[in-house]
Symmetry: C2
């Protein structure tokens, strides 16, 4: 039986997503997603916002992250299981969906393991665009896992970074990152300690995956004027920065209610002042105040960023071969006649 | 590029679901799902429970319904848009997912428009099995939309109902339902009023779709000893029963916290006593007390029922051709090397 067009949802598989990225070009795609994020952050107040719905277990977490702009609804399924790499599995896998608010019908289903890496990198670069010191050229990249190359290329494509300094407790991860960035046009330095990595860097990005209170950056490592892009502290009990750094920095977050639970600021009192980044992007709050200020983007990832990335994909796949229609929705000729549709689907050999 | 087995999630399309239902047989499948629901309700306390995450709009609602038994996580996406039928669309469409809690990887993606109809019917029949008067033979089915035939067949397969009496404000819907049930073995009577439909019925099922406070059953229509199976009152502002009926009935619900918001009991004070059905199934609370008692199952649908239905599908599709593997998850050889996987996927013409 051939399902009708209404029953079919465009599906972007991992393979199609990779083809789409190569078709558009990674830097261009990161710029496009970043532009959507900026656009959506400017109309932040319009969105339905709720902290993600998390299901925690001993090994990790599974989360649903819904949002809506009133016309389009989106959500992402994402897991975080730090020990997965031991078994040759991804720490984070994800997929996402957009639907039409007016009738509830899904309009896009997409892999989001790759897309989450892109939107996280694009988000970091958008924050750095508003918060990093003027003329920043060098980023220290601490934690050289799956996210590290995307962070580096986004900072290059959106903020004009020309040098990255890599460090990971696992030298093989650093070597992998350096190898992957060899053709990027970035000048890459592999470092043997966090202290070595931060030398001369105006942007310090931390992206480590341990689910525990860790101290990737200590207080004395953070000098005046730097911008810290803290990615890895993103769930209860998982932080990367010494509390003293937080007290010296101007702190910017995505969605305060969620970041208080999941971000670096879970180490601070619940009323500690922070600025939501959308206020800065919308011109309603100041970003970096002066060249000596320490700025911190305490990033945990928010549903609106996934929404921005998914609507980018929805627009880009039109007219391309980089999706296929998925028979996800039942669509009887008479909508009240689901049973009749089922009956008419009786296999020939049984009739 | 051929994705590895880890990257592939078994997907049950609408077409495959229909083939599976015909392969197993609808009554047998309803019994199987009902058995899973009873099993899961008996271990109710083990589940992660949260009211569904609803996004309401002028036309309807989009909901995410997650749960977990500690080993398997499940969620359903479902919309409810009563005006959809005007445009030839389904009021309710749905899909669902199961994932492995230990590593967060999805293990099943399935259409759930059909499956929700089955599990809702199976749930109603499980409730009637515990609450309806002994030897009930006749059900009044008020509201003859997409759910009505499934309700009828489930009551037949699980509770031994032999007669259904159909009524809908739209006679065409009643005719459709009667036609669809012609080969079911049920004795079907089409009725011209709700009063006509309830004559001699021990089970009164209401399943109408208007999003407003409606009165499908008035107080004087409900005699001693009946079991009311109220399906259609399932979101804020949407009810089907006169409040006076609620005051005369022993009320059973799925998950009190959610039903207070969405069910018939939203018309009652927040502390009005109700019994969660799982207590009855687990032998911890009394169901029907005597032959004259009015029992009411105030059904709104709960995540655990979807979980029960999805795990039934997961078990049944093994070794069948009724699913296909979906390339939903990125699976690099080295899990930290997502970027390398992307680079290696460079189309030949660009290298």
């Amino acid at each position: 039986m051939q399902p009708s067009a209404k029953a079919l949802v465009p599906f972007v598989s991992v393979d199609h997503m990779m083809q789409l990225i190569h078709h558009i070009g990674l830097p261009e795609m990161l710029r496009g997603i970043a532009a959507n994020i900026e656009e959506d952050f400017r109309r932040w107040e319009l969105f339905d916002k709720t902290p993600r719905v998390a299901s925690h277990s001993a090994n990790g977490v599974i989360e649903l992250m819904p949002t809506s702009d009133g016309e389009v609804y989106g959500f992402k399924y994402v897991n975080g299981h730090p020990a997965n790499t031991v078994d040759g599995l991804q720490t984070v896998t994800a997929f996402g969906l957009l639907a039409n608010v007016a009738n509830g019908y899904p309009v896009l289903l997409s892999e989001m393991t790759l897309l989450t890496a892109l939107r996280t990198a694009a988000m970091s670069a958008v924050a750095a665009k508003y918060l990093a010191p003027k003329g920043a050229t060098t980023m220290a990249m601490i934690g050289n896992g799956a996210q590290s190359e995307f962070q580096s290329v986004a900072m290059q494509a959106i903020c004009g970074i020309t040098n990255v300094r890599l460090y990971d407790t696992d030298a093989a991860a650093t070597a992998k990152c350096a190898r992957n960035l060899a053709a990027s046009g970035l000048s890459v330095t592999t470092c043997t300690s966090p202290e070595h990595a931060i030398e001369g860097a105006q942007i310090l990005t931390t992206c480590t995956a341990d689910k525990q209170y860790a101290t990737i950056l200590t207080d004395n490592m953070v000098g005046a004027g730097v911008h810290i892009n803290a990615i890895g502290g993103d769930c209860p009990g998982k932080t990367e920065l010494a509390p003293a750094i937080l007290h010296r920095a101007a702190i910017f977050v995505e969605y305060t209610e969620q970041t208080r639970i999941e971000g670096e600021i879970q180490q601070l009192p619940a009323d500690y002042p922070v600025t939501e980044l959308w206020h800065v992007i919308a011109g309603q709050a100041q970003g970096r105040r002066d060249a000596r200020q320490i700025t911190l983007f305490d990033s945990v990832g928010f549903a609106i960023e996934d929404f921005s990335a998914l609507r980018y994909i929805r627009a880009q796949i039109k007219g391309t071969p980089f999706f296929h229609p998925l028979d996800l929705l039942a669509d009887p000729d008479d909508p009240r006649d689901l049973f009749g549709m089922l009956q008419r689907a009786t296999p020939k050999q049984n009739t």
